[in-house]
Homo-oligomer: 123 residues x 2
């Protein structure tokens, strides 16, 4: 089981990669058979290929990302963050709470993102 | 399925009852066969009797509770809050992120609380 320090390191790396990383970089944090449900209630992306496709949507955009709060318990983490995705003169800011469950290797086994339209601000 | 407004109402009622309610009041928010894992990685309390026992631990104490942030997606909610439990001249402040999944009747089917010792401050 990963330590709380391992989990904190991975969450901080995730935030850094949301700002500056490629889809391939982000997928490396995930287990082979991981699931991503973002937002919760939407489509569940299963496996690294599907997850790469999900993150490729933001890959080309200029982004900023900031961790707002982080809670770690057992082999899971819940964290609030603020992601800015720029597009031309505008863009959007989205402020989700994500939950990640980690496997014994410290890879993300499941991610669920809690947000809705009222957590998105147009720039 | 409960609406986002229904879910927000129940979360706000939960925060209010953490401050002022009895264990019985809190249990009324839960489905008969609900589960509570607080903190995540600890014992899972299954069913209303076990959940009542869990909340009875704070029932006698003077408390304050404040919702910090709330995200609603699908039939789930994630929210950060600050709970103060007073004991004599001291007490503690705990700042978890909780996740709740709701059933079709709008009752809480599952609650998971993300916090560890470093999210608890002694007064």
């Amino acid at each position: 089981m990963p330590s709380a320090e391992d989990i904190a390191h991975t969450v901080n790396r995730y935030i850094g990669l949301l700002a500056k990383g490629s889809a391939d970089d982000l997928v490396e944090l995930y287990a082979d058979d991981a699931t991503v449900e973002d937002p919760v209630g939407g489509e569940v992306h299963i496996g690294q290929q599907a997850i790469r496709g999900f993150y490729s949507a933001i890959e080309g955009a200029e982004r900023e990302c900031e961790l707002v709060s982080l809670r770690i318990a057992g082999n899971e983490a819940a964290f609030q963050f603020r992601l800015t995705v720029k597009a031309g003169d505008g863009g959007l800011v989205i402020e989700p709470i994500d939950v990640m469950a980690f496997n014994d290797d410290g890879k993300v086994a499941a991610m669920k993102a809690y947000w809705a339209a009222d957590n998105v601000t147009q720039l």
